[in-house]
């Protein structure tokens, strides 16, 4: 029997970006807030200090900041005819754990979704006709528009000290910025990042071909900055240890750097670490959450009563919590009914490996998670899709994330995997290689969804989340198109002696890392038959439960999710503060 704890106003599951934003905002509004974080407390000082944090083995290979697959993983299959099997170790994505979540070990690539990402179905239908959508695609419009979210994107920019050059200020094109940028109400709070050699060469070649390269916006401060919470960030020093690492410099934005120190000064705000939530408890009529049951660090079951519950775990872990709690109708691909688990996607990435003449010194270790030159010419609907027959697009870039050599020692195809020739090739190419990264949108299909696994369980005896997914034909066509464009640019780059384009092929494999951008499963929408939550993240069926994060996306944009995750968190909490607290109940009538 779980021990019952004193009630709180708001129980938040997960201490990452959205939990920290919403927790701090609601505490400031007078609510008694507790954040239940399954991991340990981790802080830039002393936990992420140098030189010890510069440890590829610990952080990348041994997953120091990733969810422990031994205790909780996902099962995977390509389609419903297969039996899903557990991912016994992490390869395809790195879900975060510990305070700050994936907001700790992220790279800091920082984008807003494009306006047409929000009205995808209606926009493409209007411009190209409904036939541009393959029959298997279940893409749908968001219930909110870019214009509605813009103030919240802006707010997140100034929280995280975003760096970049504005391309479009209130509709006015800006010199030196991205001409395809969605309009923004204010400039970035900090100037763009420095540009390493390989991205500069990419930019030169892309410009020579008539494209519009620009310096990728980032969540790494480029100068000393005091953020919107009054907290200090320092300038990035380009040490090359961002992705999978905590930042020692207070330069990479994270909940610990940007919000939590302010929240923790409030007496009515508490973070409880080592609290593994099992489920949200419901009233007998299933119309109201009564609180949250969790297992504490010592293994004791506790019941935390709460008036409002906010799901702020890692994207698809929110979907698992909904399923474990019996909230919302689970999606059934056979009948195409139900909503929880529907419209799961990943990120349809590909790349072109480049090998340079030995006279070109790339210095791949001089970088940062988000230092890149990017072009949006083939993103969103920035180009005519008519001749190509697919929906979506992707950005092309060279970014210099890490030269840490356990993971980074590129050799051309045909090089043996070991022995003297391998060693010679590793030495020859280490400082003379780069790759063009292509980050594509991902469209959902009727067969791609999340559900509870019937066989495999986590360390607490609860079913694992089962991922059923393969790449839709739409995305295969898109990837072929984008990767060919990348190859053209690679061939035009100075000093490149060999290019190796790698467009995506079916079947989707869970054995290669392709991003931690797992999205959908708790789609936000206007129609309860195709969405889990309304436009304010409020569960249709259980109005005192809110869901946040990338699980809300009806499909995935090509742009990295964190900007939109942060903006939607502010959008949701603003509505809670403005209307819901005064009058708890459905914010949208059905």
């Amino acid at each position: 029997m779980a021990e019952q704890l004193p009630p709180v106003d708001v129980a938040i599951i997960g201490g990452g970006w959205t939990g920290s934003i919403i927790g701090k905002e609601l505490a400031a509004a007078g609510q008694r807030v507790v954040i239940l974080e399954r991991g340990e407390p981790r802080w830039p000082s002393p936990d992420f200090q140098g030189p010890n944090v510069h440890d590829e083995l610990k952080y990348t290979r041994r997953h120091a900041l990733h969810q422990n697959a031994a205790t909780e993983t996902y099962t995977f299959r390509n389609n419903t005819r297969q039996t899903a099997l557990p991912m016994r170790r992490w390869q395809f994505a790195y879900p975060g754990t510990h305070l700050g979540g994936a907001g700790n070990h992220w790279s800091g690539a920082y984008y807003r979704f494009h306006p047409t990402d929000f009205n995808l179905r209606s926009h493409y239908t209007e411009r190209y006709g409904a036939g541009i959508f393959d029959d298997d695609l279940t893409c749908q419009d968001w219930p909110v528009s870019y214009d509605e979210l813009e103030p919240y994107f802006d707010r997140f920019d100034y929280l995280i000290g975003a760096s970049g050059q504005a391309g479009n200020l209130k509709g006015e094109q800006q010199e030196g910025g991205n001409p395809f940028e969605p309009w923004r109400s204010r400039p970035y709070p900090n100037p763009p990042m420095k540009v390493p050699y390989a991205p500069a060469l990419f930019g030169e070649a892309a410009r020579s071909l008539g494209y519009h390269p620009y310096v990728q916006p980032s969540a790494l401060a480029t100068r000393p900055y005091v953020n919107s919470e009054g907290l200090h960030m320092s300038a990035c020093v380009y040490c090359g240890f961002c992705s999978n690492f905590g930042c020692e410099h207070f330069a990479k934005a994270s909940p610990q750097v940007c919000i939590l120190p302010v929240a923790m000064k409030m007496d009515n705000f508490e973070i409880r670490t080592g609290a593994h939530v099992l489920r949200v408890e419901l009233s007998p009529d299933k119309k109201r959450a009564t609180g949250v049951t969790y297992v504490d660090a010592a293994g004791n079951e506790r019941f935390q009563p709460a008036d409002t519950v906010v799901l702020c775990a890692f994207s698809i872990n929110n979907v698992r919590l909904l399923l474990l709690s019996g909230i919302g109708k689970p999606y059934d691909p056979e009948t195409d009914t139900g909503v929880v688990g529907r419209n799961y996607t990943h990120q349809t990435t590909s790349g072109v490996n480049l090998f340079f003449d030995e006279s070109v010194n790339i210095n791949p270790f001089m970088g940062a998670g988000a230092v890149a030159v990017t072009m949006d010419d083939f993103c969103a609907d920035n180009f005519d899709h008519g001749p190509h027959g697919f929906v979506g697009g992707g950005y092309l870039q060279i970014q210099v994330v890490s030269g840490a050599p356990i993971g980074y020692h590129p050799t051309p195809k045909g090089t043996p995997a070991w022995g003297p020739e391998w060693k010679r090739a590793v030495r020859r190419y280490y400082n003379h290689s780069a790759s063009i990264t292509i980050t594509g949108s991902a469209q959902p299909t009727r067969g791609g969804y999340l559900s509870l696994d019937p066989t495999y369980q986590d360390a607490w005896g609860q079913p694992l989340l089962r991922i059923t997914y393969d790449l839709p034909d739409n995305d295969i066509r898109m990837s072929a198109f984008l990767t060919a464009k990348g190859d053209e640019i690679g061939k035009a780059m100075k000093g490149v002696v060999r290019t190796e384009p790698g467009p995506r092929k079916r079947p989707f494999s869970a054995t290669a890392y392709q991003s931690t951008h797992l999205t959908g499963g708790a789609a936000m929408g206007d129609d309860p038959s195709t969405s889990v939550v309304n436009r304010y993240g409020q569960v249709w069926d259980v109005p005192n439960v809110f869901v946040t994060g990338a699980s809300l996306f009806p499909q995935n944009s090509c742009f990295n999710p964190t900007g939109t995750v942060g903006a939607t968190a502010y959008w949701i909490v603003d509505k809670i503060k403005a209307d819901y607290l005064r009058s708890p109940g459905p914010l949208v009538s059905t």
């Binding site: 140098g50 010194n361 840490a404 050599p405």
Partner: protein
């Protein structure tokens, strides 16, 4: 940071021939005295926690073929890959602390990834024994005593999954060996491999270096500093008491 002259190729070759104990496992097992100038370090560094002597010899021989010593510098054996793996396999990772181990275990598709019940420690131990047994049966000697050509032939057979080590698929064992040896060649020296930062010097990786603010926009200029390991660098937040009198 202390400036050190870049090692000449001749120095590297000299280090290879005299500096690094190749067959030290056997020497130690017989209780012979250590090379005097290395004694202090070696007495702790060369004590094995996971491998027995025979396994360590096989591991050394494998490392020497996967990343060989040559005119470019030391290989994985000289860099201490065996010692690195010994520490990893004796610890939490070797015991599968990051590996989901609940059954049922069943073969899946290639897209579903690793589906065996072996922890890293169990796999390496079983695989090394199977390799030695197979080598004895076919070639009359354990793997470590075969000539390089035969060793390579065994490694290729494992890589292709043609060697029968059932129930352990030899290709999966080979992949684990290769990943482990590469980790041992390129991870921070504090884990026992990458001795003298040999792996980092091969490619020119600076290691736990703190900042490239001043270098990142010097396009095309090869970085010419010396690498830094975590053990060598001063922690930013730690002050030795004597520094403050």
């Amino acid at each position: 940071m202390e400036e050190k002259p870049v090692l000449s190729r001749r120095h590297v070759l000299k280090a290879l021939t005299v500096g690094v104990p190749g067959a030290a496992w056997a020497v130690r097992a017989r209780g012979a005295p250590q090379d005097a100038h290395r004694e202090a370090a070696a007495s702790t560094e060369r004590t094995l926690r996971f491998f027995n002597t025979r396994e360590a010899q096989a591991m050394d021989a494998i490392a020497a073929r996967l990343i060989p010593a040559d005119d470019l510098g030391p290989g994985a054996k000289e860099a201490g890959a065996t010692y690195f793996l010994d520490g990893q396999l004796a610890g939490a990772w070797g015991a599968g602390d990051q590996l989901y181990r609940q059954g049922p275990f069943q073969p899946g598709t290639p897209e579903q990834g690793y589906q065996l019940s072996f922890t890293p420690a169990e796999m390496i131990r079983r695989g090394l024994a199977a390799l030695d047994e197979a080598a004895r049966k076919r070639d009359g000697k354990p793997f470590a005593e075969l000539d390089a050509e035969r060793q390579d032939a065994w490694l290729r057979a494992m890589q292709a999954g043609e060697a029968d080590f059932s129930p352990l698929p030899s290709a999966i064992f080979f992949q684990a060996l290769l990943e482990g040896v590469i980790e041992g060649f390129f991870s921070d020296p504090m884990y026992g491999g990458n001795r003298d930062m040999a792996g980092w010097k091969l490619v020119g990786f600076p290691g736990a270096y703190a900042s490239f603010s001043n270098d990142i926009e010097r396009h095309g200029v090869a970085w010419a500093g010396q690498p830094v390991s975590i053990a060598m660098a001063r922690p930013h937040d730690a002050h030795r008491k004597e520094d403050h009198g």
